[in-house]
């Protein structure tokens, strides 16, 4: 899987018009001597045949070497390592908050009649449609400019994390909530709920002890996707809140066409995404109350 990702990125990057050696020396239009170009080509291995370069790159990746940045004059591996922490904290916190919002909304609005369900669905659709960049600027205006209670840019302390996390969590909660509501409704109509009720279980007990576990299942398997979309959202959110992290590094690298950094970040994100998918598959297996032989046909 990772090999395929590496292959796709390697050959995609080869499609870039222009000479990579020129890009290293300051982009097209810069006055570069043929000697300097040759030296740079030799340093980055660009004078080798394509197949050799490809195999070299795979070899380097296998040993965890992500190459050297064109623009920042440092190795990509340490760069990614120094940035990944902030993004992971952001993503994990946002995922947790999104789960909380979705859970509260879905359980509140289920079994309270049509109006509550409509309000719930409406809130979810709107939340899912909120673009990160707009939500972030609106939150900044309200909480930082008007009320002055939270910092507009991300600071090291916990207060600086609130707005970025909320920005990422609300749209995600919209998606998770939609899925959770559907499965909650399905679960509440299944026979096991009826039998629980017949045993004298209360409404609340049915919801929390029986139905919710079924309802959580599709949302858990979605968390792998959610993690990926959070990292993609981090590109926007980290840029707006001036927060150091993988997303901002990626955007800067795309803007200045720093190919090794882009490839490195994309590889790391793909790896994290694949790992996360495996974890959620395992988690939904554990949470699944049904007999194991039925399985849940986990998402790949």
């Amino acid at each position: 899987m990772l090999w395929a990702v590496a292959t796709v990125t390697f050959f995609a990057v080869r499609l870039i018009p222009g000479d990579p050696a020129e890009a290293i020396l300051g982009g097209p239009g810069s006055q570069t001597s043929p000697e300097a170009l040759a030296a740079v080509r030799a340093e980055y291995g660009l004078d080798q045949p394509l197949l050799v370069q490809y195999l070299q790159q795979l070899g380097r990746l296998a040993t965890g070497d992500l190459g050297r940045s064109y623009a920042l004059n440092m190795d990509v591996g340490p760069l990614v390592l120094s940035q990944i922490g902030g993004t992971l904290v952001l993503a994990v916190l946002s995922l947790a908050v999104a789960w909380l919002i979705a859970l509260v909304l879905a359980t509140w609005s289920t079994g309270r009649g049509r109006l509550a369900a409509r309000i719930g669905t409406g809130l979810e659709i709107v939340a899912a449609a909120l673009p990160h960049f707009w939500l972030a600027t609106t939150l900044i205006v309200v909480f930082s400019v008007w009320w002055g209670v939270l910092p507009p840019i991300s600071t090291a302390d916990a207060r600086g994390l609130v707005l970025p996390v909320v920005t990422l969590a609300i749209p995600l909660a919209g998606f998770l909530g939609q899925v959770m509501r559907e499965s909650l409704n399905t679960a509440l109509e299944s026979p096991f709920v009826l039998s629980a009720r017949a045993r004298g279980e209360s409404d609340r007990g049915v919801l929390w002890r029986h139905a919710l576990r079924h309802a959580a299942l599709p949302a858990i398997s979605l968390s792998g996707w959610a993690f990926g979309s959070l990292i993609s959202g981090a590109v926007v959110v980290e840029t707006i809140f001036a927060r150091p992290g993988l997303g901002r590094t990626l955007l800067n690298a795309v803007t200045v066409r720093d190919v090794p950094v882009v490839v490195g970040v994309v590889m790391v994100v793909a790896l994290a995404y694949i790992l996360m998918t495996i974890v959620t598959d395992l988690a939904s297996g554990l949470a699944d109350p049904r007999p194991t032989e039925i399985g849940n046909g986990g998402l790949s």
């Binding site: 669905t121 709107v126 400019v145």
Partner: protein, 294 residues
Amino acid sequence: MSELEIQASATGRSAGRSPASAPGGFGSMRVSVVELAAVLVAMLLLTAAIAPRLLAPGDPLAIDPLAAFGAPSWDHWFGTDESGRDIYTRVVDGARDSLLIGLTATVIGLGLGAVLGTIAGTLGAAVDFTVNRFLEVLFAFPGLLLALLFILVFGPGPGSAIVAVGLSTAPGYARIIRAQLLRVRSSAFVEAATVQGLGRGRILARHILPNTLAPLFVLGTLGIGQAIVWAAALSYLGLGAQPPAAEWGAMLSAGRTYITSAWWMSFFPGLFIVITAVCATTLGRSIERRMRHA
């Protein structure tokens, strides 16, 4: 999984089952207030895109330095920007670009997805396997990452932003279409056609494809909202349409500098992105529900 698959699956399951979404099976369905509002908003947006001067008679580029950074008022409903241009006029004017970008990206994504999905679903197990692996690789670039990679290769700009968004939505479409194709292929009426001795090509053309492609309309409607949001995100990051253009994402990006003093510059363009996306989702869901009950 993709945003689209979630939206599509949510509508699919809610149809006819949850009492909230389907007001019973009395033949024809009532038009709800929400649906009516969505249709109305869609019509207004289309009017803005086709004939912006009907809704906003002013010139979107008219500069009035004396009126710069005006807060929303009776003269300027949404306020004015740094050159005194009327934000309301510019937002109305931007509808054309934003809708066109969303539509084109959706058509590209849906077209690519339809081709991939149909190839996977019809040309046998080996092809299906290969296409599926390919899609899985694409899914490993979550969200905007594929679009960013595309822009890295082909450079920033409105054109490459459109293709980039189309490309990154294609895997989601392809997977839904393939699943639908397999469902239709194993259904009873296809078996009946096979038993009657119809040829494979004829069954595919007359029975399977029409039943697979009809839901594309719903998918496209659901997808437009997402495509507009993503394209605007790219513009906002400076990788799509550039600020002088009245595209909503670019307007937001231009307003970012003045966020502490002139919130209206970024608030209203963004609000219209949200309204458009919600409108598209609502319409897509209601069409889906009606098709299911028809």
